[in-house]
Symmetry: C2
Subunit: 497 residues, 2 copies
């Protein structure tokens, strides 16, 4: 993982936001290559999801929506994490990351005495940490007997009377922690001139509600018929307490979500299965290896009451197997909630059954940043070429920032440079391409390998003096061939289509 | 304008955010056609600005940046509007939209007496409004003599002792208005668990600061050389007091900005002129008529102290000639401010002069929504075809949501439907296209005209029984021709390239 973060930084692909001011935790900027990668992922998804299908339309709803949207969706109430404050240090901790244990000593007579409590924030070795603190406490109090094995729990499991006895991880002393309290993950702001309860608004924590809120408008202004989907790409924000794993879990991120509306009597399970397959196939189509992907079905007892089934497509990141794409069967819950809260019917007239129905929905929701990280991790290879170590990003051509790099063999031979420039210009009308004339060809190849350019083209004397063909070198096979300009365009058309 | 707003609503192109909850003032959603329009504008700009040029790279920086960015840029201090509060009604007014006048009566002896003050919010007829109120006041107080012509000013011109005497527009009574106070246009939020001064953050009011803050990282990780530019497309937010003119001035909007860095000794004026021309030419290239565009040079005395020159490209909107694209010569002010505030040098090594320099910058900044509105306004036409009124959106093919609509002549003839479907599928691999088999051909044409599809293709019996050619009908000339599938693809390649 460190190698990838460091490459991303060194080549200006991804780096922390506002670095010159020390950075901002949980926010990232995408440099020239990162911006192209992101754009290619978005475009591939939109083309495949919206343009190439017959049943899906697009939407761009605003990031700030009416606050009642988030009451209806349950985000104001439910989208919370329990937090514990330390009244003395004014620090705040996520309750499920603050662990504690009573320290119990067993005397020679077998009697058990609780001599106090220890606490620790979640770390790589919370158990050992707590054990050491317990031994410390026993020594400090001069307690006799043996330490009973610690029973560790997070602070949400503490009884109210225990809270007072648990030391704050900030001060090491008990008495300053509050009981766990809900903390909303939505970023809050105020719209308009006044700043009071009436002007509160939130940055959306997901794009999905846009599709539900605009459902009726889209049904009324387009010719969609069940089943159909509404797709959206856009930024979402979650005030995560612990941003982690580079761009995997950040506070500002970009989502690609689609709500697929089906008749309430339709076979939702079959439809859900179809979307699972579609999403997996799509990931493979943009170059993510199938063997790094797996499915994770949420157990029934962990589903929200309205949810019929949720399956995540997991990706084997360097830091573990983690959720990449969630595909949920959400029943008619969201539309009915908005119908209830807005008083507006959320129905569609179904031609087949000649009746108005509230459709059910299948929701495949994925983050652009998570896909980009999966793409980056699975594209990264190190190998040896001509006795030298080579770093290569094996991006799928559709995702690669640059599609082709064009080199004149020598930069001091005007006919070569002119021909290379002409080809570069012709390619540039259609594709993002790179021109490089400095250094030995081998070095120029390696520069392109490191940023994942699939093909390099070299203009040499044969090109200008003989048949016009040039050398094309494949990033992955390292094979070199001579082809014509027409053949190059035809190949790109085929590979990038 | 109303016609356009109503068409946008009726065809689901643009509508208010969160409509089912009564809408949210200053926020808009783009429906299926609007999302495609926006996407096409963004893609055309990115391709022309970044991919087809040699000297410009892309960036996607985060919307929430370190708060010190906005101190350095001057937005925390300077980006404010003077506001007046009414202490009684708790309403807040923009000072430059709240007008007042002393009411002076001239007695028979020629003596002038100020009998009170009148006030009114800016409207289409503020002067008449104030005059009526002045006459009312005179009548109510039974003042003798003649009313002196009113001297109207906005409240920023009021003396402190006058403020107390000016009636609040909310209550009609004096005594409750505060003096004008600065109000920041940035949306504020809090990052992390704590909510205090240390966690304040802002939604960016412009994308430009991302380019300045990341300048050094981009210089260090890419091979850019002066002159070069950094381009970015993304959402920005301004808590405008009075959102107006549909999507022209909204609170959440999307910008396309580019910072073009030049050597401090370069001919900045010539560079500024070049960008003025580039931007104007680009607008024309996507279909905006040249005669609706004009230049507006900011007078020297109105420029910020660091600014050398600002020229706006103006567009004749239905509500008046308004700013569409601002092109500013901003000197080295922004980079130097960030160098000062961050302590990090903002320099680039210039090969030509073998020295480190802080470059100057030319900034063309435009809003996607404003371009979209200009495109919509200038594309709208009503004409008469075969004796019937026709509404047509004459979008440039590159911008049009659908490029081609495919019709089988009759929907109950399987060979026609099959051939039409096959063509539709083939086109859909590359372009966003529409399939329609319902209703008379004339009606299908008109549906496409209204959403701006440039070409309609009809599969008839000659297509399947004879030479395979089909009819293509041009939206603007209404001409019909027979062409082959190969010719159609070649034409699209040429027109959309």
């Amino acid at each position: 993982m460190e190698t990838i973060v460091s490459l991303a930084k060194r080549r200006g692909i991804i780096f922390q936001s506002s670095e010159i001011y020390g950075g901002l935790n949980g926010f990232f900027d995408y440099g020239p290559l990162g911006a192209e990668l992101k754009r290619n992922i978005r475009n591939a998804w939109w083309e495949d999801m919206v343009h190439r299908r017959d049943d899906i339309v697009g939407l761009e709803s605003s990031i700030i929506m009416h606050p009642r949207v988030w009451e209806a969706s349950g985000h104001v109430e439910g989208f919370t994490d329990p937090m514990v404050d330390c009244r003395e240090s004014k620090q705040r901790f996520r309750a499920d990351q603050l662990f504690f244990a009573p320290v119990v000593v067993v005397g020679e007579d077998g009697a058990e005495t609780t001599i106090g409590y220890v606490s620790a924030l979640e770390s790589e070795d919370t158990a050992a940490d707590l054990q050491a603190r317990a031994e410390d406490l026993k020594r400090k109090l001069g307690a006799r007997g043996t330490l009973k094995p610690l029973v560790v729990a997070d602070i949400t499991a503490a009884h109210p009377e225990e809270i007072e006895k648990i030391p704050s991880p900030a001060t090491g002393k008990p008495g300053s922690l509050t009981p766990p309290r809900s903390f909303n993950l939505m970023f809050e702001t105020h719209v308009g001139a006044l700043r009071d309860a009436s002007s509160v608004a939130y940055l959306r924590p997901e794009t999905a509600q846009g599709m539900f809120v605009d459902f009726k408008t889209i049904v009324d202004t387009t010719r969609v018929k069940l089943p159909f989907g509404i797709a959206q790409i856009g930024k979402s924000f979650r005030n995560e307490i612990t941003p982690r794993n580079f761009i995997f879990c950040s506070r500002e991120f970009e989502q690609m979500e689609m709500e697929y509306f089906i008749h309430p009597d339709a076979d939702w399970f079959a439809c859900h299965e179809e979307w699972l397959q579609w999403c997996r196939d799509w990931l493979i189509s943009i170059g993510i290896p199938a063997d790094l992907l797996s499915f994770d079905e949420h157990p029934k007892e962990k589903l929200a009451f309205y949810s019929r089934r949720t399956v995540d497509i997991m990706f084997r990141y360097p830091f573990g197997v983690q959720e990449l794409w969630g595909i949920a069967a959400r029943s008619d819950y969201d539309l009915k909630q908005h119908a209830k809260h807005s008083g507006k019917p959320m129905e569609i007239f179904d031609e087949a059954t000649k009746s108005k129905v509230v459709p059910h929905v299948i929701e495949p929701a994925v983050g652009v940043d998570r896909i980009l990280l999966a793409v980056l991790c699975s594209a990264y290879y190190e190998d040896e070429v001509e006795g030298e170590k080579r770093t290569v990003l094996r991006f799928h051509p559709r995702i690669a920032p640059y599609k082709v790099a064009v080199f004149p063999l020598l930069k001091n031979k005007p006919p070569l440079v002119e021909r290379a420039q002409a080809l570069y210009r012709a390619l540039k009308r259609k594709y993002n391409v790179f021109y490089d004339e400095s250094g030995a060809i081998g070095r120029r190849y390696r520069r392109q390998d490191e940023i994942g350019t699939p093909w390099c083209v070299t203009i040499d004397f044969d090109t200008v003096e003989k048949d016009g063909t040039f050398t094309i070198r494949d990033r992955d096979t390292l094979e070199q061939q001579r082809i014509t300009e027409d053949q190059l365009f035809a190949m790109l058309e085929e590979k990038l289509g």
